[in-house]
């Protein structure tokens, strides 16, 4: 049969007089338009005039044809206008490209209109085209009818149609998954805070409608909404329920804790009812505390008297030695107290409540984390040793960089072996280097709440004000206390505050301010604020800078009036340091406030003073952290290329890293051009931005971007690139990313190279520290598993990036470290013995292999003639040396035993077993590594608690027949996981060995390794792996 070859006949028919003919032509054109649009487009004006002809009945048909023609011409706007004119003839259900494109266009249009409508002030609201609304609604209905609820949710979220959103969620079969999808969307895509809150409220309502509400998600939402009361109610209700519900309550609490929203957690805790038998518990706690205090004082004195003669007369080294005994003693005291607590009989509810409060206040999780980090510590002392040897003694920058590096490597592990072994070397730190060396202890002992203060006691300013100690170590100690108690500083606040009040030394003030800021992070405590402000008003550059930062830390995310006050003072003062501190402080105050902060940001970015503009960049970074907000990115890019000050440009680029930290895959693309900038500062910023946002991702693009920068012509760019690279490669194994090995070699090369500039050398040393951070069991996580930003982490990272101006701030990076652990807990909040499977090759996520000491160097040398006399002399020298060493060890031991024999006796057995156990474990793992070369198993069995790096989570499987099963299967298997006991009748076997000796064991093991390590090194050969049996 024939087909038409041209539409000209029909087009001609349009010119006919009779409307029937026109209609006939239009109808046929509508059918033919897909093929004949080029012909029709020449006559489009005829069709348009038909549409505009009010007397013509079938105007809609004309509109439809016109719309299609415009669509083919690519004029989507015109096409949309006519499609709207076509009314019901435009069928959204039609499955053609035209309809799909136009509907998409329609939805976009509607979204942009409704966003404009929502964001503009009510005075000048533009009228929404009802036809447009109709189409979008038809579209949404269609989506829902076809079961595409995710689309419907997405569209209605973007259109800000809460009614439709609710409908979509309610109509879907799987409302739970829809809600979680929506929650994720609202966190990642809804850039406007107020609207997000509305969505969250809706979500809470949705979750509560379930017969079995998903309390985990509800509480997440409520936390975003900052409604502690409701969370407290839910938790209370759960606690009163059965065992599983109590477990759920604990899980909720742990999840909330992971988000590190201290103020909220404290509010929840305070809103929970006091347990009826609270008196007894607190009583015990109090006595416990008192006991601790007592023993501390006692030991403090004994330490002063006993340790005095043995240690060198440096105030730094002395307390290190003196500390053993204290710890042992306190532990003994604690051990004595705990059975008493156990013996006390309490109602189950009260008991649960107490546990829950323990979680919320952070005590339980932090001590569990500490335990984990200590027991799983796999840091490689040889790396540090190499660094130490290759760094010139006189170069104080590298010297303190090594100290920083050590602190980071052992962050949270309480292992200070390296410092202990190198007291002489450590003594070289003077003035501010001493400040940071002392503060480094805070990083190492991070989370060691109970004994934090006693650990630092020897360095702390004594009550008389003249402790004889140097102000630098005293200030450093206060800072260290802050680091130990970061974000959980209720217990220490008062002490720090008093220290601040009692001193007028600016160095101590500096340390106290930083410590206070850290300990009272985000609490908006008025009293502390006033005191810090007084320090600021003394207008001392050193103290003022810390005060500025501390004010920001105190007021994190409050967007309070104080910001204006701080800004005013920043204008008044002459000191750049103070202005900089305040600028950062202000940025912290507007943390997470997004649009709310815009006025302030505008004010800062328009300032005459580059330092304030620089603060403005930070304010943008903080206010829009992790939102990937387009306007923020645009503004930052603008400043990155147009500001006159290098500092501002650098910071603007760096700030991109914060804004994009929720979408790390974006960052390398966005900054890739900037990383090729002629301006070294911009390059540095680009490197850091990638480092911050891609931290721990091992992202290949990020590495490719950073790699050329590590050999940049400018030293500080190299520094930034090395640090950023270390952040990116954190916990990435060679099996996953072969470039890790080359990077490690590069670091080694830079550190050993005599001609390398100090700046990049320092970068390499720090990078080494970050790369092996926290005994390799931590990752930098700026966002929690649920996608919420971790306030502490982001703040820590922001202050860390200030190290450009002030090295001691490097320690703030430890705030962003999060342990990569799976810690399974039973209802007693103890770790039961429990195995699970990581269904992948062990080498993919294992620890990096330990460094092999360079044994081959001597072998290559030609044999030189050695005189027998010199040989003998050498032997003599060696003997003397070893004698010295062995002589030293007993002195230490002796000191320890002398002061607390009884404690030693009780703790001994435990310690022994721990260390041997540990060794064996290590051997096993090492042996496994060697075996792998032959044939690598495709899975491995991990036992609770285990190291589970984020990328590994998806491989984790639980055994079917296991006694314990996680309470919530959907939840990512990492962090704190509540386990359900399938056979509660059987006796519980706990992973107990480490539990009671967290601190005592630490020092003991440290001492043990301290004794063992030099031996091994002298031999220049690692111990051979013990024989073992391979169990698949």
């Amino acid at each position: 049969m024939a087909v038409v070859a041209s539409a000209s006949g029909l087009l001609a028919m349009l010119q006919e007089q009779h409307p029937t003919l026109k209609l006939h032509a239009l109808r046929n054109l509508n059918v033919l338009v897909d093929n004949f649009w080029p012909e029709i487009s020449t006559n489009i004006s005829a069709i348009e005039s038909l549409y505009e002809d009010e007397t013509f009945h079938e105007r809609q048909m004309a509109a439809l044809v016109a719309s299609k023609v415009f669509y083919y011409l690519g004029e989507l706007n015109d096409s949309l206008t006519y499609a709207l004119g076509a009314g019901s003839l435009f069928d959204v259900t039609e499955d053609t490209e035209y309809v799909q494109t136009l509907v998409a266009k329609c939805v976009n249009e509607y979204i942009s209109l409704s966003v404009k409508l929502a964001e503009s002030n009510d005075s000048e609201t533009t009228e929404m085209d009802p036809r447009l609304v109709a189409i979008v609604e038809r579209m949404l209905d269609k989506c829902m009818q076809e079961g595409k609820f995710q689309q419907a949710v997405g569209i209605s979220l973007e259109c800000r149609r809460l009614d439709k959103l609710e409908e979509a969620i309610n109509r879907s079969e799987n409302a739970a998954s829809m809600l979680s999808y929506c929650l994720r969307l609202s966190q990642t895509f809804v850039s406007r805070r107020e609207f997000r809150h509305e969505v969250l409220r809706l979500l809470v309502k949705g979750y509560q409608n379930f017969p079995q509400p998903d309390y985990l998600s509800i509480c997440q939402c409520l936390m975003f909404l900052d409604e502690p009361g409701k969370v407290a109610d839910i938790l209370d209700k759960l606690l009163k329920g059965d065992k599983n519900e109590a477990l759920l309550a604990y899980q909720v609490a742990f999840d909330l804790f992971e988000n590190e929203y201290q103020k909220f957690l404290l509010n929840v805790r305070d809103l929970l009812p006091e347990p009826s038998s609270a008196a007894s518990t607190t009583g015990i706690l109090a006595t416990n505390g008192r006991l601790n205090q007592g023993s501390r004082n006692e030991n403090g004195i004994s330490a002063l008297t006993d340790a005095g003669p043995t240690a060198m007369d440096s105030d730094l080294t002395e307390p290190l030695l003196a500390r053993h005994d204290e710890e042992v003693a306190t532990d003994a005291a604690a051990a004595a107290a705990s059975p008493a607590a156990q013996a006390e009989s309490r109602t189950p509810y009260a008991e649960r409540l107490a546990k829950l409060k323990g979680i919320l206040s952070g005590e339980t999780p932090i001590s569990l984390t500490l335990q984990f980090l200590y027991s799983h510590n796999r840091s490689d002392l040889l790396i540090l040793k190499t660094i130490k040897q290759s760094v010139e003694m006189r170069n104080s920058v590298c010297h303190s960089a090594t100290i920083y590096s050590n602190a980071l490597m052992h962050a949270g592990t309480t292992v200070d072996t390296f410092l202990r072994e190198n007291l002489d070397w450590l003594k070289r730190a003077t003035n501010w280097a001493k400040f940071s060396a002392t503060a480094g202890l805070g990083v190492i002992h991070r989370g060691h709440h109970q004994q934090g203060r006693s650990l630092m006691a020897p360095y702390l300013p004594q009550n008389g004000g003249t402790g004889g100690g140097s102000p630098y170590s005293e200030g450093g100690a206060l800072y260290a206390l802050g680091l130990i108690h970061a974000n959980h500083g209720e217990g220490i606040k008062q002490f720090l505050l008093e220290s601040l009040r009692n001193t007028s030394n600016e160095v101590i003030q500096h340390g106290a301010c930083l410590g206070l800021g850290l300990a009272a992070l985000g609490t908006a405590d008025e009293e502390i604020y006033e005191d810090v402000k007084n320090v600021l008003y003394t207008d001392s550059a050193v103290a003022g800078e810390a005060a500025g930062i501390a004010m920001g830390l105190l007021m994190v995310g409050t967007a309070s009036e104080k910001a204006a006050e701080m800004l005013a003072y920043a204008h008044d003062t002459q000191h750049e340091k103070i202005i900089r501190g305040l600028a950062l402080g202000i940025a912290l105050v507007v943390y997470g406030r997004e649009e709310e902060a815009d006025t302030l940001i505008e004010q800062m970015t328009r300032d005459q003073d580059p330092i304030l503009r620089y603060g403005g960049m930070y304010a943008l970074a903080m206010a829009y952290r992790g939102t990937a907000n387009n306007s923020a990115i645009r503004r930052l890019l603008h400043f990155a290329v147009s500001d006159v000050s290098d500092d501002v440009r650098r910071t603007a680029v760096l700030a991109l890293g914060f804004v994009l930290c929720s979408e790390p895959e974006q960052t390398p693309r966005i900054v890739s051009l900037l990383s090729e900038s002629y301006n070294a500062h911009v390059r540095y910023g680009a490197a850091m931005a990638v480092g911050i946002s891609c931290a721990g991702s091992g992202s290949s693009e990020a590495i490719s971007l950073l790699e050329p920068l590590t050999s940049d012509a400018v030293d500080f760019v190299r520094q930034g690139a090395l640090i950023a690279m270390a952040m990116v490669l954190l916990q990435t194994t060679e099996a996953r990313e072969p470039r890790v090995a080359s990077f490690r070699r590069l670091l080694e090369k830079i550190i050993n190279d005599k001609h390398e500039e100090t700046m990049s050398k320092m970068g390499a040393i720090l990078a080494q520290g970050i790369l092996d951070a926290g005994g390799r069991n931590v990752a930098i996580m700026l966002q929690s598993r649920t996608g919420h930003d971790r306030v502490t982490a982001v703040v820590g990272m922001a202050v860390f990036s200030q190290f450009w101006y002030w090295y001691p701030l490097i320690y703030f990076i430890s705030l962003s470290f999060a342990p990569t652990a799976f810690i399974g807990l039973n209802e007693e909040l103890r770790m039961p013995k429990f195995d699970f499977i990581s269904d992948t090759k062990p080498s993919l996520f294992g620890y990096p292999p330990s460094v092999v000491p360079p044994a081959a160097t001597s072998a290559v040398k030609l044999p030189t003639a050695v005189l027998s006399t010199s040989n003998r002399a050498k032997v003599r020298g060696a003997k003397k040396e070893s004698e010295n060493k062995s002589g030293k060890a007993p002195v230490q031991e002796g000191g320890a035993t002398a002061s607390s024999t009884n404690a030693e006796g009780s703790g001994d057995g435990d310690k022994e077993s721990t260390s041997t156990m540990k060794d064996k474990n290590a051997m096993d793992i090492e042996g496994g590594v060697e075996k792998k070369a032959v044939v690598e198993p495709s899975s491995e069995v991990l036992s609770n608690p285990a190291r589970v790096v984020p990328a590994q989570e998806k491989y984790i499987k639980f055994k079917e027949d296991s006694r314990y099963a996680p309470l919530k299967l959907k939840r990512a298997p990492s962090g704190f996981v509540m386990l359900r006991d399938m056979t509660p009748s059987e006796p519980v076997e706990l992973v107990s060995t480490d539990t009671p000796v967290s601190a005592g064991g630490a020092s003991a093991a440290a001492a043990a390794t301290a004794a063992a390590a030099p031996m091994a090194v002298d031999d220049n050969e690692p111990p051979p792996p013990e024989p073992f049996e391979y169990v698949p």
């Binding site: 049969m1 024939a2 087909v3 038409v4 070859a5 041209s6 539409a7 000209s8 006949g9 029909l10 087009l11 001609a12 028919m13 010119q15 006919e16 007089q17 009779h18 029937t20 003919l21 006939h24 046929n28 059918v31 033919l32 990155a640 290329v641 147009s642 051009l673 900037l674 090729e676 900038s677 002629y678 301006n679 911009v682």
Partner: protein
């Protein structure tokens, strides 16, 4: 369906009667009714639904449209001609294999060519020509149009005018008259370019007018910008030279400054 066809056939008879009587008004009225009725037949383009009566329907519709085309020539309505022709064309091109060719096909195609020539749409003229099968070029109607075009292009205007006498079909006369006008316009356009002025006599000769009156009327109607002074026609060509463009210095300065600023900002 049958009824409809019969209905249309009856109406068409009526139309033919009026058409033969040269009663253009009645036939036009009936024609528009016919056209509406035609839309109801599904076998017609562009639908081409096959039905037992489809061949009949097509033949009838073609016949009607052919008459419509001729009628519009008779009524001297170029627009209607074009409209009808375009509708008719589908029957010639798309249904070639379905219904036997019409005797009227070439005369009407020739007419259309002529129309394009008249309207000076040379490009379309050639397109149409290319679409014709080679055999068609021998048909007198087509040949006529092709020859006319050649003369027209060569500038042999006299041949064009003389061709009026040798029309292959009586309907062609109308267009031949129009063609004379087109030719005249061409000549006028050329003269304008070629001369500043011409004497009336010469102008009359060049433009091939029989009398001065005709010339004057023509000038008045079509070229009001011409001026007749005494015995000469002055072509008031717009001799204004395009004003020399000023250098947009301010804009250039701004642009250059802009470049400088942008260069500064290069990252």
């Amino acid at each position: 369906m049958e009824g409809k066809l019969a209905d249309i056939t009856r109406l068409f008879q009526k139309f033919k009667a009026a058409y033969d009587k040269n009663d253009t008004e009645t036939s036009d009225n009936i024609l528009s009714q016919l056209k509406v009725k035609l839309t109801e037949l599904p076998s017609l383009p562009p639908l081409f639904k096959s039905s037992p009566s489809s061949i009949q329907e097509l033949l009838l519709a073609r016949d009607i449209l052919e008459h419509a085309v001729v009628l519009s020539v008779k009524m001297e309505d170029q627009d209607a001609f074009e409209r009808h022709f375009l509708q008719l064309k589908s029957y010639y091109t798309d249904t070639r294999g379905v219904i036997p060719p019409s005797g009227q096909e070439y005369p009407i195609l020739g007419l259309n060519l002529l129309r394009l020539l008249v309207q000076n749409r040379i490009a379309e003229f050639h397109t149409e020509l290319e679409l014709l099968p080679p055999a068609a070029h021998d048909h007198s109607c087509i040949k006529h149009a092709v020859e006319l075009e050649q003369s027209f292009m060569e500038g042999a205007y006299n041949r064009v005018l003389s061709a009026r006498q040798a029309v292959p079909h009586e309907t062609y006369v109308y267009f031949m008259d129009l063609l004379a006008k087109t030719v005249r316009d061409e000549i006028a356009g050329c003269s304008e370019k070629a001369y500043d002025s011409l004497s009336l006599v010469e102008a009359k000769k060049i433009l091939m007018f029989a009398s001065d009156q005709e010339l004057l009327a023509y000038v008045l109607d079509d070229h009001p910008d011409w001026e007749i002074r005494g015995t000469r026609v002055y072509f008031q060509r717009a001799k204004k030279l395009a004003p020399c463009k000023e250098i947009p210095s301010l804009q250039l300065i701004n642009q250059t400054l802009g470049y400088a600023r942008e260069l500064e900002r290069i990252v």
